[in-house]
């Protein structure tokens, strides 16, 4: 039997050095005893076999096997557990890893399961320490404050908690006292001293009274769930929590308090109630020759209040047309994209940026045109946590076409640019084919012209860069064609 002495409960380096050497000598786990500090010898513990881990530091194994990184991580956590058998468990795992490199994936293995349970317990304890340490304030002679807490962790986690407390309370002087070790921070350096007792920490301070008031008031007596509280805040922590002495009375009073609220008679308001009326956003209209913008707004308000649009149920909002009115050019998309639905504006997002770029190249500003969609609501289906766009069908077109027609009548464009065949067919009729009719001026009733072109969103989805560039150039050409026709028509009219 060999005995290894580690210098402290959390001596991970010592354990690693010893384990490395023992493994090299092929000493099986059952022949090793692990001890910490100056413990008294066990009955079969032969002193001559004892070696301090440091003696073995320089021994380099010749046929070293590679220890998985996750095992080192596991060791760092497990060693913080208070169970004295943890050192042996870790060595046994290391021993078995030699023959079973994938051992750590086997959560169902008794050794692995035990180590994982230890990791979980350590993490929980560390988490609860961060949660339940309660500082009390001591005024020092120079007028500054020092904050002192008493805490009783279940495992050897105090040093592991240090980065949390120094990172959070960097500019405070504080001490955390525990039975095993104390930790002190002066604003710059961390310092450890030996364990203390509860009496070394300050008693209550005045600041705690406000905290207790808060605790009492935030509790809802109508939803008593004591087991849920106990699961997260076990009683072992209560003795150091200033709010814990309130719990018994809060529980005892909760049922009468809830009952009191239920049976209480409604009261009449004792103050004069002035009904709140939201100030309408100033609906001042921009310069509006011929009342076009007003007419558009009235049309949209009428349509929005209609219950005939099933797509409105789950849409964020109706995406209304935008731009100048009257306008010579009307840009017509199929339906709002998801970004447009969120922003409440047509042609936003990447497709909108591409469109702006193309308009610019064609010598048209977005502010010179009126932009709208055939559908005013985003059509989608929910797939898990995504909204997937759905193609519009004939029924959607029939539903929204009256809205679009009325819009066109108000905006009075001379040229309409339709993005994609579906938008075009809604106006031109079913016979429209991009191959035959694309990039041409097509006559519409009322002396209007129609140009059918590719959708900016479709251009974005093209993978092949050369094709993408070609399609983009076509879009610019089509927009320029529309602009030119609009100028021509204006001259003819003029």
């Amino acid at each position: 039997m060999q005995t290894v002495r580690l210098t402290s409960e959390t001596d991970i380096e010592g354990w690693r050095n010893a384990a490395r050497a023992l493994l090299l000598q092929e000493i099986a786990p059952e022949h090793i005893q692990w001890r910490v500090g100056q413990q008294t010898h066990g009955l079969f513990d032969l002193p001559e076999d004892e070696m301090a881990p440091s003696q073995r530091v320089n021994q380099r194994p010749t046929h070293q096997f590679k220890v998985p990184r996750e095992f080192i991580e596991l060791c760092r956590q497990v060693i913080l557990h208070r169970d004295p058998s943890r050192f042996a468990l870790l060595y046994r795992l290391l021993w078995r890893l030699k023959a079973q490199p994938k051992l750590l994936q086997l959560s169902v293995d008794p050794d692995v399961a035990k180590a994982q349970a230890m990791v979980k317990a350590v993490r929980r304890d560390l988490h609860k320490m961060k949660a339940f340490v309660r500082f009390r304030e001591i005024e020092m002679e120079n007028g500054e404050s020092e904050f002192v807490a008493w805490f009783e962790p279940s495992h050897h986690i105090v040093e592991a908690s240090a980065p949390f407390f120094t990172g959070r309370f960097t500019n405070m002087r504080w001490s955390i006292l525990t039975p095993e070790i104390c930790m002190h921070w002066d604003g710059h350096r961390l310092n450890y001293t030996t364990g203390a007792s509860k009496a070394d920490a300050p008693a209550q301070d005045a600041g705690e009274e406000l905290w207790r008031s808060y605790y009492r008031s935030i509790f809802n007596p109508a939803r008593l769930k004591v087991p849920a509280m106990l699961a997260q805040m076990p009683k072992k922590y209560w003795r150091n929590l200033p709010e814990a002495p309130l719990i018994a009375k809060l529980i005892a009073d909760s049922s009468p308090r809830m009952h009191g609220m239920i049976v209480a008679k409604p009261t009449e308001p004792q103050r004069k109630i002035v009904k709140y009326v939201a100030k309408e956003e100033s609906r001042r209209l921009p310069a509006d020759a011929g009342g076009v913008i007003k007419a558009l707004r009235e049309l949209n308000d009428t349509m929005l209040s209609s219950a005939d649009f099933p797509l409105a149920v789950h849409a964020t909002q109706a995406v209304l047309g935008q731009g100048v009115a009257p306008a010579t050019v009307l840009l017509l998309g199929e339906q709002p994209q998801e970004q447009d639905d969120l922003a409440g504006q047509p042609f936003t997002g990447q497709a909108g940026t591409l469109l702006d770029q193309a308009l610019n190249a064609a010598g048209i500003g977005r502010s010179d045109v009126y932009a709208t969609n055939l559908l005013k609501h985003y059509k989608f289906k929910l797939q898990g946590r995504r909204r997937i766009p759905l193609a519009l069908d004939d029924r959607d077109i029939q539903t929204y076409l009256p809205w679009l027609r009325a819009e066109i009548e108000i905006v009075q464009p001379s040229v309409i640019v339709a993005f994609g065949p579906i938008a075009a067919r809604a106006l031109y009729g079913k016979g429209m084919e991009i191959a035959a009719h694309g990039s041409k001026l097509l006559p519409l009733p009322g002396g209007r012209q129609l140009v059918v072109t590719i959708q900016p969103a479709v251009i974005l989805s093209i993978r092949d860069q050369a094709t993408k560039q070609l399609r983009y150039e076509q879009l610019v050409k089509d927009l320029a064609l529309a602009a030119k026709a609009a100028t021509q028509l204006a001259l003819e009219k003029g």
Partner: protein, 409 residues
């Protein structure tokens, strides 16, 4: 009025908001700062009240004066509850002094609507500004956002806050209209849409490589009151699914409508439907982490979740033909549908079965409820036999409702 009294009134007024999360934001410390505070990413609950709710943030209203008359709300204008208003400095100092004692992760500030939405929002944002800019406070800040507040105020709120939230309050716009006449369900959706765009924008690098301004790195959340109107669970989950999909919410909180002091005569009080609330949370988890659709989770013909067993067990009992599931062969999606198997257990099973076959004894070491799992799985040395055909299977799987242990105290 004394600070203590204000705190009591304004904490009491804030407790009907279920959210207390301090998670999901970027990680930071005070190491290079002048003030205090840090965030760890995962959030910390510093205490628990006997209502089982975690206390992570100082959750208060700036004021409980309110011009709205939402009939489910303790702060409605027509209620006679005592009123109070904090000054900006009072909230700031309270937050800092609680934080120094390690009572809290930060502040969750909301407010009754005073004067108008923009004025109220401005006050709320000012508290956050002073905490961040004057005191270099680096703890967590959650601000309740007021729908349709100005874009400039919204941008400032997002700059200081770790999380923003707007409560949809009720599962349907129609219910909201009835119970909260001044609130505008469409404005709430519009604002959530704006928040999502801003949150996503803040995470993208611009073409010049410049970082866009910080905006609510912990995302947005919302809350729905359950049991104040007659909406069924099917409609509630459908609304949740759409909220998650449309606005990428971190969480939808369900808050069982609970008795309040000086309630409105239009809304009779009863004990809050806590079991229903619990089942909705379980169903919400199935939506987000277990690949269930909102539609299939509802198993009751009345559009309600089964109160007797958890929604996954209820689903499995209705789809017995899909069981037993072979733990050594079934795809991940099916393992996630086995009652009693959580996301972690499933990950462990998948990792382990690559190494060797999983047997009956192994299950005991996965720390799961064998009673729940066993009727639905098959292993090389275990078969549930005819237990899936048992008409009493549901009764056997029912968890007795925990009885309050008053004897403990």
């Amino acid at each position: 009025m004394e600070l203590k009294q204000k705190l009591e009134i304004l904490a009491d007024a804030a407790k009907y908001d279920a959210s207390c999360a301090s998670s999901g934001t970027d990680k930071r410390t005070s190491a290079n700062g002048k003030g205090i505070g840090s965030t760890t990413g995962m959030g910390i609950c510093h205490s628990y009240a006997p209502d089982g709710r975690c206390i992570s943030l100082l959750k208060i209203l700036l004021t409980n004066f309110c011009v709205y008359d939402c009939i489910y709300c303790v702060n409605r204008v027509s209620s006679n509850v005592p009123r109070a208003r904090f000054s900006v400095d009072e909230v700031v100092n309270l937050t800092l002094s609680f934080y120094r004692r390690n009572y809290i992760e930060g502040l969750f500030l909301s407010s009754g609507i005073i004067r108008n939405p923009d004025y109220t929002m401005e006050q709320v944002v000012e508290v956050a500004r002073v905490l961040r800019e004057v005191h270099d406070f680096r703890g967590y800040i959650h601000l309740k956002t007021i729908p349709d507040a100005s874009a400039e105020l919204m941008a400032r709120a997002g700059l200081y806050a770790d999380r923003l939230s707007i409560n949809v309050e009720l599962p349907t716009i129609a219910s909201l209209h009835t119970l909260a006449p001044e609130k505008d369900g469409k404005a709430i959706r519009r604002s959530m849409g704006q928040l999502r765009l801003k949150i996503e924008e803040s995470k993208e690098k611009t073409l010049t490589g410049k970082r866009p301004p910080r905006f609510s790195p912990g995302g947005q959340s919302t809350q729905m009151i359950v049991g104040a109107d007659s909406t069924d669970d099917r409609a509630i989950l459908d609304t949740s699914a759409h909220l998650y999909g449309a606005y990428r919410l971190r969480r939808v909180y369900y808050s069982a409508f609970s008795p309040i002091p000086d309630a409105s005569k239009m809304l009779p009080l009863k004990a809050p439907p806590l079991v229903r609330e619990h089942r909705l949370y379980q169903a919400d988890w199935l939506l987000r982490f277990y690949g269930f659709d909102a539609e299939e989770i509802i198993t009751g013909e009345d559009g309600m979740l089964d109160l007797d067993v958890d929604p996954k067990t209820a689903w499995a009992l209705q789809h017995r033909e899909q069981f037993p599931v072979d733990l050594n062969r079934a795809p991940k999606a099916m393992l996630l549908r086995v009652p009693g198997l959580g996301v972690t257990s499933v990950a462990r099973i998948l990792a382990a079965r690559k190494v060797r076959a999983i047997r009956y004894d192994d299950l005991t070491r996965l720390r799961l409820s064998l009673k729940k799992v066993l009727p639905f799985v098959v292993l090389p040395d275990y078969h549930p036999g005819r237990s899936l055909d048992d008409n009493h299977l549901k009764q056997r799987l029912q968890q007795p409702v925990p009885v309050q242990q008053f004897g403990l105290f």
